[in-house]
Symmetry: C2
Subunit: 222 residues, 2 copies
Amino acid sequence: MTIQKVQVVERILDANDQIAEQNKKKLDQAGVYSINIMASPGSGKTSVILRTIEKMMGEYKIAVIEGDTAPVTIDADKITAMGIPAVQINTGGQCHLDANLLERGISALNLNELDLVIVENVGNLICPASFKIGTHANVVISSIPEGDDKPYKYPNIYRGIDTLILNKIDLLPYVDFRKEYFKQGIELLNPGLSIFELSCKTGEGFNQWIEWLKSRISKRNS
Amino acid sequence: MTIQKVQVVERILDANDQIAEQNKKKLDQAGVYSINIMASPGSGKTSVILRTIEKMMGEYKIAVIEGDTAPVTIDADKITAMGIPAVQINTGGQCHLDANLLERGISALNLNELDLVIVENVGNLICPASFKIGTHANVVISSIPEGDDKPYKYPNIYRGIDTLILNKIDLLPYVDFRKEYFKQGIELLNPGLSIFELSCKTGEGFNQWIEWLKSRISKRNS
Protein backbone atom coordinates (compact mmCIF):
# COMPACT_ATOMS: atom_id res chain seq x y z
CA MET A 1 0.00 0.00 0.00
CA THR A 2 2.85 2.37 0.77
CA ILE A 3 4.38 1.74 -2.65
CA GLN A 4 1.08 2.48 -4.37
CA LYS A 5 0.85 5.79 -2.48
CA VAL A 6 4.34 6.79 -3.66
CA GLN A 7 3.44 5.98 -7.24
CA VAL A 8 0.38 8.20 -7.11
CA VAL A 9 2.41 11.11 -5.77
CA GLU A 10 4.97 10.65 -8.54
CA ARG A 11 2.29 10.72 -11.18
CA ILE A 12 0.90 13.97 -9.78
CA LEU A 13 4.35 15.62 -9.85
CA ASP A 14 4.93 14.32 -13.40
CA ALA A 15 1.65 15.83 -14.52
CA ASN A 16 2.58 19.14 -12.88
CA ASP A 17 5.97 19.22 -14.64
CA GLN A 18 4.34 18.50 -18.00
CA ILE A 19 1.92 21.39 -17.55
CA ALA A 20 4.84 23.58 -16.43
CA GLU A 21 6.63 22.78 -19.71
CA GLN A 22 3.50 23.70 -21.66
CA ASN A 23 3.26 26.99 -19.75
CA LYS A 24 6.87 27.84 -20.64
CA LYS A 25 6.20 27.02 -24.30
CA LYS A 26 3.16 29.29 -24.37
CA LEU A 27 5.16 32.13 -22.83
CA ASP A 28 8.06 31.53 -25.26
CA GLN A 29 5.78 31.50 -28.29
CA ALA A 30 4.42 34.88 -27.24
CA GLY A 31 7.92 36.22 -26.54
CA VAL A 32 7.14 36.79 -22.87
CA TYR A 33 9.74 36.45 -20.12
CA SER A 34 8.43 35.38 -16.73
CA ILE A 35 9.64 35.18 -13.15
CA ASN A 36 8.27 33.33 -10.15
CA ILE A 37 8.75 35.22 -6.88
CA MET A 38 8.75 33.08 -3.76
CA ALA A 39 9.13 34.25 -0.17
CA SER A 40 7.92 34.05 3.38
CA PRO A 41 4.78 36.07 4.26
CA GLY A 42 5.69 39.70 4.84
CA SER A 43 9.10 39.65 3.15
CA GLY A 44 7.97 42.40 0.80
CA LYS A 45 7.07 40.52 -2.40
CA THR A 46 4.37 42.96 -3.42
CA SER A 47 6.50 46.00 -2.55
CA VAL A 48 9.40 44.68 -4.66
CA ILE A 49 7.00 44.03 -7.54
CA LEU A 50 5.50 47.53 -7.31
CA ARG A 51 8.95 49.20 -7.33
CA THR A 52 10.06 46.93 -10.20
CA ILE A 53 7.01 47.91 -12.24
CA GLU A 54 7.66 51.59 -11.49
CA LYS A 55 11.21 51.29 -12.83
CA MET A 56 10.32 49.26 -15.93
CA MET A 57 6.81 50.16 -17.05
CA GLY A 58 7.88 52.82 -19.54
CA GLU A 59 10.02 50.35 -21.43
CA TYR A 60 8.30 46.99 -20.91
CA LYS A 61 4.71 45.78 -21.01
CA ILE A 62 4.18 43.96 -17.73
CA ALA A 63 1.44 41.88 -16.11
CA VAL A 64 1.29 40.30 -12.67
CA ILE A 65 -0.23 37.02 -11.52
CA GLU A 66 -0.99 37.07 -7.80
CA GLY A 67 -1.23 33.81 -5.85
CA ASP A 68 -3.21 34.11 -2.62
CA THR A 69 -4.61 31.53 -0.22
CA ALA A 70 -7.55 33.77 0.63
CA PRO A 71 -10.03 35.55 -1.67
CA VAL A 72 -8.67 39.03 -0.93
CA THR A 73 -7.50 41.41 -3.63
CA ILE A 74 -5.23 43.58 -1.45
CA ASP A 75 -2.11 42.91 -3.56
CA ALA A 76 -3.85 42.75 -6.95
CA ASP A 77 -5.53 46.10 -6.24
CA LYS A 78 -2.13 47.74 -5.67
CA ILE A 79 -0.93 46.45 -9.06
CA THR A 80 -4.01 47.50 -11.03
CA ALA A 81 -3.84 50.94 -9.36
CA MET A 82 -0.62 51.37 -11.37
CA GLY A 83 -2.47 50.60 -14.60
CA ILE A 84 -0.89 47.14 -14.87
CA PRO A 85 -3.02 44.05 -15.58
CA ALA A 86 -3.21 41.69 -12.61
CA VAL A 87 -4.76 38.24 -12.37
CA GLN A 88 -5.54 37.01 -8.91
CA ILE A 89 -5.40 33.28 -8.32
CA ASN A 90 -7.09 32.21 -5.11
CA THR A 91 -5.60 28.81 -4.27
CA GLY A 92 -8.48 28.02 -1.92
CA GLY A 93 -6.20 27.44 1.03
CA GLN A 94 -3.52 25.57 -0.94
CA CYS A 95 -0.07 26.62 0.26
CA HIS A 96 1.60 27.15 -3.12
CA LEU A 97 0.95 27.76 -6.81
CA ASP A 98 1.27 24.83 -9.19
CA ALA A 99 1.58 24.62 -12.97
CA ASN A 100 -2.15 24.10 -13.41
CA LEU A 101 -2.98 27.28 -11.49
CA LEU A 102 -0.39 29.24 -13.48
CA GLU A 103 -1.93 27.90 -16.68
CA ARG A 104 -5.23 29.48 -15.65
CA GLY A 105 -3.41 32.70 -14.84
CA ILE A 106 -1.63 33.03 -18.20
CA SER A 107 -4.81 32.03 -20.05
CA ALA A 108 -6.48 35.10 -18.55
CA LEU A 109 -3.80 37.39 -20.01
CA ASN A 110 -3.27 38.59 -23.56
CA LEU A 111 0.33 37.31 -23.79
CA ASN A 112 0.95 38.81 -27.24
CA GLU A 113 0.68 42.27 -25.71
CA LEU A 114 3.23 41.58 -22.97
CA ASP A 115 7.01 41.46 -22.43
CA LEU A 116 7.16 40.33 -18.82
CA VAL A 117 4.89 38.35 -16.49
CA ILE A 118 5.72 38.54 -12.79
CA VAL A 119 4.21 35.76 -10.69
CA GLU A 120 3.83 36.36 -6.97
CA ASN A 121 3.64 32.94 -5.36
CA VAL A 122 1.84 32.25 -2.08
CA GLY A 123 3.78 33.49 0.95
CA ASN A 124 5.51 30.32 2.12
CA LEU A 125 9.19 29.30 2.44
CA ILE A 126 8.53 25.56 2.11
CA CYS A 127 5.87 24.29 -0.31
CA PRO A 128 6.44 26.47 -3.43
CA ALA A 129 9.95 24.97 -3.73
CA SER A 130 8.48 21.59 -4.72
CA PHE A 131 6.36 22.79 -7.64
CA LYS A 132 7.70 23.98 -10.99
CA ILE A 133 5.18 26.30 -12.56
CA GLY A 134 6.84 27.03 -15.91
CA THR A 135 8.41 30.45 -15.47
CA HIS A 136 11.88 31.28 -16.85
CA ALA A 137 13.44 32.27 -13.56
CA ASN A 138 12.80 31.57 -9.90
CA VAL A 139 13.52 34.39 -7.49
CA VAL A 140 13.43 34.21 -3.69
CA ILE A 141 13.06 37.29 -1.52
CA SER A 142 14.51 37.16 1.99
CA SER A 143 14.27 40.11 4.33
CA ILE A 144 16.52 41.37 7.12
CA PRO A 145 13.99 41.06 10.01
CA GLU A 146 13.37 37.38 9.14
CA GLY A 147 16.83 36.62 10.47
CA ASP A 148 20.14 35.38 9.14
CA ASP A 149 19.50 31.66 9.78
CA LYS A 150 16.81 31.12 7.15
CA PRO A 151 19.09 29.38 4.57
CA TYR A 152 20.02 26.82 7.21
CA LYS A 153 16.45 26.23 8.38
CA TYR A 154 14.56 26.33 5.07
CA PRO A 155 17.23 25.11 2.62
CA ASN A 156 15.03 23.70 -0.16
CA ILE A 157 13.63 27.03 -1.30
CA TYR A 158 17.13 28.42 -2.00
CA ARG A 159 18.31 25.47 -4.11
CA GLY A 160 18.03 25.82 -7.87
CA ILE A 161 16.78 29.42 -7.83
CA ASP A 162 18.19 31.98 -10.26
CA THR A 163 18.67 34.94 -7.99
CA LEU A 164 18.00 36.11 -4.46
CA ILE A 165 16.78 39.48 -3.25
CA LEU A 166 17.71 40.48 0.29
CA ASN A 167 15.05 43.06 1.11
CA LYS A 168 14.54 45.63 3.89
CA ILE A 169 18.23 46.49 4.25
CA ASP A 170 17.05 49.81 5.72
CA LEU A 171 16.28 47.80 8.89
CA LEU A 172 19.90 46.55 9.29
CA PRO A 173 20.74 49.11 12.01
CA TYR A 174 17.82 47.91 14.18
CA VAL A 175 18.06 44.12 13.79
CA ASP A 176 20.78 41.58 14.63
CA PHE A 177 21.55 40.17 11.18
CA ARG A 178 24.95 38.66 10.35
CA LYS A 179 25.13 39.21 6.60
CA GLU A 180 28.18 36.96 6.19
CA TYR A 181 26.51 34.07 8.02
CA PHE A 182 23.42 34.44 5.82
CA LYS A 183 25.52 34.56 2.63
CA GLN A 184 27.61 31.54 3.67
CA GLY A 185 24.39 29.55 4.03
CA ILE A 186 23.25 30.60 0.55
CA GLU A 187 26.65 29.77 -0.94
CA LEU A 188 26.46 26.22 0.48
CA LEU A 189 23.04 25.66 -1.10
CA ASN A 190 23.48 27.51 -4.37
CA PRO A 191 27.14 28.33 -5.15
CA GLY A 192 27.69 31.59 -7.01
CA LEU A 193 24.09 32.77 -6.70
CA SER A 194 23.72 36.51 -7.27
CA ILE A 195 22.24 38.36 -4.31
CA PHE A 196 20.69 41.82 -4.62
CA GLU A 197 20.51 43.77 -1.38
CA LEU A 198 17.80 46.37 -1.57
CA SER A 199 15.22 48.45 0.25
CA CYS A 200 11.72 49.13 -1.07
CA LYS A 201 11.46 51.96 1.43
CA THR A 202 14.50 53.95 0.26
CA GLY A 203 14.92 52.48 -3.23
CA GLU A 204 18.55 51.60 -2.45
CA GLY A 205 19.98 48.75 -4.51
CA PHE A 206 17.09 48.58 -6.97
CA ASN A 207 19.08 49.51 -10.07
CA GLN A 208 21.27 46.40 -9.93
CA TRP A 209 18.24 44.12 -9.63
CA ILE A 210 16.49 45.88 -12.52
CA GLU A 211 19.65 45.57 -14.66
CA TRP A 212 19.79 41.84 -13.93
CA LEU A 213 16.14 41.41 -14.90
CA LYS A 214 16.51 43.48 -18.08
CA SER A 215 19.59 41.51 -19.15
CA ARG A 216 17.69 38.24 -18.61
CA ILE A 217 14.83 39.52 -20.76
CA SER A 218 17.14 40.64 -23.55
CA LYS A 219 19.15 37.38 -23.48
CA ARG A 220 15.92 35.46 -23.86
CA ASN A 221 14.88 37.58 -26.82
CA SER A 222 18.25 37.39 -28.60
CA MET B 1 -12.75 8.80 -8.43
CA THR B 2 -13.03 12.32 -7.07
CA ILE B 3 -15.34 11.09 -4.33
CA GLN B 4 -12.91 8.34 -3.40
CA LYS B 5 -10.09 10.89 -3.16
CA VAL B 6 -12.14 13.06 -0.80
CA GLN B 7 -12.93 10.07 1.40
CA VAL B 8 -9.26 9.15 1.72
CA VAL B 9 -8.37 12.68 2.77
CA GLU B 10 -11.11 12.64 5.38
CA ARG B 11 -9.86 9.40 6.82
CA ILE B 12 -6.33 10.81 7.16
CA LEU B 13 -7.61 13.90 8.99
CA ASP B 14 -9.77 11.72 11.26
CA ALA B 15 -6.76 9.62 12.14
CA ASN B 16 -4.77 12.76 12.91
CA ASP B 17 -7.50 14.10 15.21
CA GLN B 18 -7.71 10.79 17.04
CA ILE B 19 -3.97 10.81 17.71
CA ALA B 20 -4.23 14.47 18.77
CA GLU B 21 -6.84 13.46 21.37
CA GLN B 22 -4.54 10.69 22.62
CA ASN B 23 -1.67 13.19 22.90
CA LYS B 24 -3.82 15.52 25.00
CA LYS B 25 -4.87 12.62 27.26
CA LYS B 26 -1.23 11.64 27.82
CA LEU B 27 -0.32 15.22 28.70
CA ASP B 28 -3.35 15.51 31.01
CA GLN B 29 -2.56 12.27 32.78
CA ALA B 30 0.94 13.56 33.51
CA GLY B 31 -0.42 16.97 34.61
CA VAL B 32 1.45 18.77 31.84
CA TYR B 33 0.11 21.91 30.13
CA SER B 34 1.16 22.42 26.51
CA ILE B 35 1.08 25.14 23.89
CA ASN B 36 1.56 24.99 20.13
CA ILE B 37 3.33 28.06 18.73
CA MET B 38 2.67 28.77 15.06
CA ALA B 39 4.11 31.61 12.96
CA SER B 40 5.71 32.68 9.74
CA PRO B 41 9.47 32.02 9.37
CA GLY B 42 11.42 34.73 11.17
CA SER B 43 8.59 36.04 13.35
CA GLY B 44 10.65 35.29 16.47
CA LYS B 45 9.19 31.98 17.70
CA THR B 46 12.46 30.77 19.21
CA SER B 47 13.26 34.16 20.75
CA VAL B 48 9.82 34.30 22.40
CA ILE B 49 10.31 30.76 23.73
CA LEU B 50 13.78 31.57 25.11
CA ARG B 51 12.51 34.69 26.93
CA THR B 52 9.48 32.74 28.22
CA ILE B 53 11.74 30.01 29.61
CA GLU B 54 13.96 32.65 31.23
CA LYS B 55 10.95 34.15 33.03
CA MET B 56 9.40 30.81 34.11
CA MET B 57 12.16 28.26 34.62
CA GLY B 58 12.59 28.88 38.35
CA GLU B 59 8.95 28.08 39.01
CA TYR B 60 8.01 25.57 36.28
CA LYS B 61 9.67 22.51 34.76
CA ILE B 62 9.63 23.13 31.02
CA ALA B 63 10.54 21.18 27.87
CA VAL B 64 10.46 22.26 24.23
CA ILE B 65 9.58 20.29 21.10
CA GLU B 66 11.09 21.88 18.00
CA GLY B 67 9.54 21.25 14.57
CA ASP B 68 11.95 21.85 11.69
CA THR B 69 11.78 21.01 8.00
CA ALA B 70 15.54 20.56 7.83
CA PRO B 71 17.87 18.47 10.01
CA VAL B 72 19.46 21.48 11.73
CA THR B 73 19.58 21.90 15.49
CA ILE B 74 20.03 25.70 15.57
CA ASP B 75 16.87 26.29 17.64
CA ALA B 76 17.12 23.15 19.78
CA ASP B 77 20.73 24.05 20.66
CA LYS B 78 19.63 27.45 21.99
CA ILE B 79 17.07 25.73 24.25
CA THR B 80 19.42 23.06 25.61
CA ALA B 81 22.04 25.77 26.25
CA MET B 82 19.59 27.04 28.90
CA GLY B 83 19.53 23.61 30.55
CA ILE B 84 16.02 22.84 29.24
CA PRO B 85 15.24 19.52 27.53
CA ALA B 86 14.52 19.92 23.82
CA VAL B 87 13.34 17.35 21.31
CA GLN B 88 13.92 18.15 17.68
CA ILE B 89 11.45 16.77 15.16
CA ASN B 90 12.70 16.92 11.61
CA THR B 91 9.60 16.76 9.43
CA GLY B 92 11.66 15.74 6.38
CA GLY B 93 10.42 18.65 4.31
CA GLN B 94 6.81 18.45 5.51
CA CYS B 95 5.44 21.94 6.03
CA HIS B 96 3.78 21.45 9.42
CA LEU B 97 3.71 19.24 12.51
CA ASP B 98 0.92 16.71 12.84
CA ALA B 99 -0.40 14.69 15.78
CA ASN B 100 1.72 11.69 14.88
CA LEU B 101 4.93 13.74 14.94
CA LEU B 102 3.96 15.33 18.26
CA GLU B 103 3.30 11.85 19.67
CA ARG B 104 6.92 10.97 18.88
CA GLY B 105 8.04 14.21 20.52
CA ILE B 106 6.17 13.68 23.79
CA SER B 107 7.25 10.03 23.88
CA ALA B 108 10.85 11.22 24.00
CA LEU B 109 10.15 13.31 27.13
CA ASN B 110 9.70 12.25 30.72
CA LEU B 111 6.30 13.92 31.12
CA ASN B 112 6.01 13.14 34.82
CA GLU B 113 8.91 15.48 35.49
CA LEU B 114 7.37 18.41 33.59
CA ASP B 115 4.79 21.19 34.06
CA LEU B 116 4.84 22.77 30.61
CA VAL B 117 5.67 21.59 27.09
CA ILE B 118 6.17 24.32 24.48
CA VAL B 119 5.86 23.14 20.88
CA GLU B 120 7.48 25.26 18.16
CA ASN B 121 5.71 24.37 14.94
CA VAL B 122 7.32 24.66 11.49
CA GLY B 123 7.57 28.27 10.28
CA ASN B 124 4.52 28.54 8.04
CA LEU B 125 1.37 30.70 8.15
CA ILE B 126 -0.77 28.27 6.16
CA CYS B 127 -0.41 24.51 6.69
CA PRO B 128 -0.11 24.21 10.51
CA ALA B 129 -3.62 25.69 10.79
CA SER B 130 -5.14 22.50 9.33
CA PHE B 131 -3.60 20.01 11.76
CA LYS B 132 -4.58 19.63 15.41
CA ILE B 133 -1.65 18.17 17.33
CA GLY B 134 -3.17 17.77 20.79
CA THR B 135 -1.82 20.72 22.78
CA HIS B 136 -4.03 22.66 25.21
CA ALA B 137 -3.61 26.05 23.54
CA ASN B 138 -2.72 27.33 20.10
CA VAL B 139 -0.70 30.53 19.95
CA VAL B 140 0.20 32.51 16.83
CA ILE B 141 3.09 34.96 16.74
CA SER B 142 2.89 37.82 14.26
CA SER B 143 5.64 40.41 14.00
CA ILE B 144 5.64 44.09 13.08
CA PRO B 145 7.89 43.85 9.97
CA GLU B 146 5.63 41.15 8.45
CA GLY B 147 3.06 43.87 7.84
CA ASP B 148 -0.42 44.75 9.05
CA ASP B 149 -2.32 42.90 6.31
CA LYS B 150 -1.49 39.34 7.40
CA PRO B 151 -4.89 38.59 9.05
CA TYR B 152 -6.59 39.47 5.76
CA LYS B 153 -4.22 37.42 3.60
CA TYR B 154 -3.67 34.35 5.79
CA PRO B 155 -6.98 34.20 7.72
CA ASN B 156 -7.11 30.48 8.56
CA ILE B 157 -4.18 30.51 10.97
CA TYR B 158 -5.85 33.15 13.20
CA ARG B 159 -9.18 31.34 13.52
CA GLY B 160 -9.71 29.22 16.62
CA ILE B 161 -6.39 30.12 18.28
CA ASP B 162 -6.29 30.94 21.99
CA THR B 163 -4.02 33.97 21.96
CA LEU B 164 -1.88 36.07 19.65
CA ILE B 165 1.55 37.55 20.28
CA LEU B 166 2.48 40.65 18.28
CA ASN B 167 6.28 40.56 18.40
CA LYS B 168 9.07 43.01 17.49
CA ILE B 169 7.17 46.11 18.64
CA ASP B 170 10.61 47.75 19.02
CA LEU B 171 10.58 48.04 15.20
CA LEU B 172 7.34 50.09 15.12
CA PRO B 173 9.19 53.42 14.60
CA TYR B 174 10.93 52.07 11.46
CA VAL B 175 8.09 50.19 9.73
CA ASP B 176 4.70 51.26 8.36
CA PHE B 177 2.36 49.18 10.48
CA ARG B 178 -1.23 50.27 11.16
CA LYS B 179 -1.94 48.55 14.46
CA GLU B 180 -5.68 49.29 14.31
CA TYR B 181 -5.99 47.78 10.82
CA PHE B 182 -4.18 44.66 11.99
CA LYS B 183 -6.35 44.34 15.11
CA GLN B 184 -9.57 44.88 13.14
CA GLY B 185 -8.58 41.95 10.92
CA ILE B 186 -7.96 39.74 13.96
CA GLU B 187 -11.26 40.81 15.55
CA LEU B 188 -13.16 39.75 12.40
CA LEU B 189 -11.57 36.29 12.45
CA ASN B 190 -11.45 35.66 16.17
CA PRO B 191 -13.62 38.10 18.18
CA GLY B 192 -12.30 39.02 21.61
CA LEU B 193 -8.92 37.32 21.10
CA SER B 194 -6.28 38.56 23.57
CA ILE B 195 -3.25 40.11 21.87
CA PHE B 196 0.08 40.55 23.66
CA GLU B 197 2.33 43.19 22.15
CA LEU B 198 5.92 42.52 23.05
CA SER B 199 9.58 42.78 22.12
CA CYS B 200 12.13 40.02 22.65
CA LYS B 201 14.85 42.62 22.20
CA THR B 202 13.78 44.97 25.01
CA GLY B 203 11.60 42.57 27.05
CA GLU B 204 8.70 45.05 26.87
CA GLY B 205 5.26 43.48 27.27
CA PHE B 206 6.51 40.06 28.39
CA ASN B 207 4.99 40.12 31.87
CA GLN B 208 1.40 40.17 30.58
CA TRP B 209 2.04 37.20 28.28
CA ILE B 210 3.72 35.25 31.12
CA GLU B 211 0.77 36.04 33.42
CA TRP B 212 -1.66 34.73 30.78
CA LEU B 213 0.35 31.53 30.40
CA LYS B 214 0.66 31.00 34.16
CA SER B 215 -3.07 31.52 34.68
CA ARG B 216 -3.81 28.97 31.94
CA ILE B 217 -1.52 26.45 33.62
CA SER B 218 -3.07 27.00 37.05
CA LYS B 219 -6.64 26.81 35.68
CA ARG B 220 -5.79 23.50 34.08
CA ASN B 221 -4.41 22.17 37.37
CA SER B 222 -7.33 23.35 39.51
